[in-house]
Amino acid sequence: MSPFADSANSLIPRRVLVVDDSSLIREAAALALGTIRGWDVLTAASGEEGLERAGADQPDAVLLDVVMPGLDGIAVAERLAHSPGTRTIPVVMLTAAGSAEDRQRLERLAVAGVIPKPFELATLADQLAVLVGWDVA
């Protein structure tokens, strides 16, 4: 547990998987959710790795980028939703809008919500908590 974590928010330990091909975003999200909020943060650098980690590590939520090379975030969300081992894990998409086609595909997804990029470090954890129904202390 981080020494910087707010104790009130640390009472319920959360484990969040961040899937993004940008190392900058993975580290910034780990700072916002882990160092500042005190949650356990797992990361994956691709859609394929994200699927593997979600199944193996069973996070409480997945924060998933949309535009990635290879398996993109929308395809990953669809696979998570259809796999018995991961279908109950809430998924929140991270997106900088993307193409019109991506926006249409996003609207058809059964995800917990969407957080626009660029995100604010100070509010990322609260945004995620609200979307997945966790108490915001």
Binding site: F4, D6, D21, S22, S23, L24, I25, E27, A28, L31, A32, T35, I36, V67, P69, L94, T95, A96, A97, G98, S99, K117, P118, F119, E120, L121, A122
Partner: protein
């Protein structure tokens, strides 16, 4: 340290550590702009601009975000279109973006 001061200091360290990723994306944008008719380079440039549009704001680069969004919009068009005399030149946008980010380490 407050969490906000901590965030600022740590963000700066993260930015410096991953600066090569940002520069690689800038290079991809510049290659796309220089070879406007090449669909592969254009797609790479669009992805790079999209990434920067979604990243720079978190690190405080408001103008950089706007420039990256404009580049993303132009490079995301299905094919190169005749230049709009009222639209900013792609090369100028790419150059402005590099100027914004140069010296930011």
């Amino acid at each position: 340290l407050t969490s906000s001061a901590l965030s600022t200091a740590v963000l700066q360290a993260i930015w410096t550590r991953h600066r090569s990723e940002v520069l690689a994306r800038l290079d991809a944008i510049e290659r796309a702009v220089a070879s406007d008719a090449d669909p592969g380079l254009r797609a790479d440039g669009w992805r790079a601009a999209h990434q920067l549009a979604g990243t720079l704001g978190t690190f405080g680069f408001t103008r950089g975000t706007e420039l990256a969004r404009q580049l993303e919009a132009h490079l995301g068009e299905r094919q190169a279109v005749p230049p709009d005399p009222c639209a900013p030149d792609l090369r100028t946008l790419a150059c402005d973006l590099r100027c914004e980010l140069d010296g930011s380490a």
